[in-house]
């Protein structure tokens, strides 16, 4: 078989039963992988700037917490509504910890936390509150807007879908 015919065979393969079975298998595997394990998503909103940008594309790796628990500073996806709408937020506190904001600084159990991922100015004040059992406290990296306009708080671990792939 010459090179020309090999190239032709690659781009225009013969529709043999073997080929069709292979195509069906690949389509099925792709459907299972991208439908249930590694879900593509687009980012809408600026709550995670500058870490993740509005309009960015990523994948939600669903098996990350199959055998482990979320840790502080993990960026996670939280199921917000149905199976298609998710929030992309960062875990700042774990269950039974006390969360507080004083002039934009995060305090966990009274101790100030370093947050190098927060690049924009923040002057939030939030009285202390305790994270409930089986919950994590999540918040976006972009805290330049008034505290009332930012969607954050404690989320049940049952609602954690996975983590962004990058």
């Amino acid at each position: 078989m010459g090179i020309d015919s090999k190239i032709r065979q690659f781009f225009f393969p013969s529709l043999t039963p073997k080929f069709l079975i292979r195509v069906c298998l690949v389509a099925l595997l792709a459907y299972l992988f991208f439908g249930y394990l590694c879900i593509p998503f687009t980012i809408q909103g600026m709550s995670m700037e500058p870490t993740y940008h509005n309009g960015g594309v990523n994948f939600c790796w669903r098996v990350r917490y199959l055998f482990s628990e979320p840790r502080r500073y993990d960026v996670i996806t939280v199921r917000f509504a149905g199976s298609k709408v998710m929030l992309l937020k960062r875990v700042v506190a774990l269950e039974d910890e006390q969360v507080e904001f004083r002039d934009g600084k995060l305090f966990i159990d009274g101790k100030e936390m370093e947050e190098p991922y927060v690049r924009l100015p923040c002057h939030w004040n939030l009285p202390p509150r305790r994270v409930e059992k089986d919950c994590v406290y999540v918040i976006g990296d972009n805290r330049s807007m008034p505290i009332e306009n930012h969607h954050f708080g404690q989320a049940s671990k049952n609602r954690i879908v996975g983590v962004p792939l990058w």
């Binding site: 917000f80 509504a81 149905g82 199976s83 298609k84 709408v85 954050f152 708080g153 989320a155």
Partner: protein, 166 residues
């Protein structure tokens, strides 16, 4: 040859009959979904909507609700028990503030804990434009309870699920 023809015609009639049966005698799940589609249709508003259509839609919205409907929302100002007339009034008032409004429901999960009660978890998305040109785009997870009263499924409870608790 004649037998095959009769078999084909007979088969076609059976298939049409099955489709007609499911179309004209929908199951309870379809009837419940239909109520949401009607709510979506009557709440939605186009910029060209005339006064007569508006009044008709506002009147129709009330017919989808039970005598009293319980609303639970994270915002305490909205939570409470409302009569169907109050719901029509508030819906009309809310619609008048927006020049364009689109309400869509998807991701339905319906189950029947009792014979004439349906519990529905779904996603509701409200998009539109206010009179000042401001864009509105809100998505929420909802938990609704519908009761079958005089062969009609009516909304008796609507809860906006709070995913993140500050």
């Amino acid at each position: 040859m004649v037998k095959i023809r009769y078999l084909l015609v007979g088969g076609l009639i059976v298939i049409i009959g099955i489709f007609a049966f499911f179309y004209f005698f929908p199951n309870e799940e379809k009837k419940v979904k239909k109520q949401f589609h009607l709510l979506s249709e009557w709440v939605s508003k186009s910029p060209e909507e005339n006064a007569f259509t508006m009044l008709q839609k506002i009147k129709n919205i009330g017919t989808l609700f039970d005598e009293r409907c319980e609303l639970k929302a994270p915002s305490q100002s909205l939570s409470g028990s409302y009569t169907r007339e109050e719901i029509s009034t508030y819906a009309g008032s809310a619609r008048s503030h927006l020049s364009q409004l689109d309400l869509k429901f998807y991701d339905f999960h319906i189950f029947f804990p009792e014979k004439e009660i349906a519990k529905v978890t779904l996603t509701g998305r409200l998009t539109g434009r206010s009179g000042t040109g401001e864009q509105v785009d809100e998505t929420r997870e909802l938990e609704c309870v519908l009761k079958k009263i005089e062969r009609k499924w009516l909304f008796s409870e609507i809860e906006v699920v709070e995913v993140l608790k500050k």
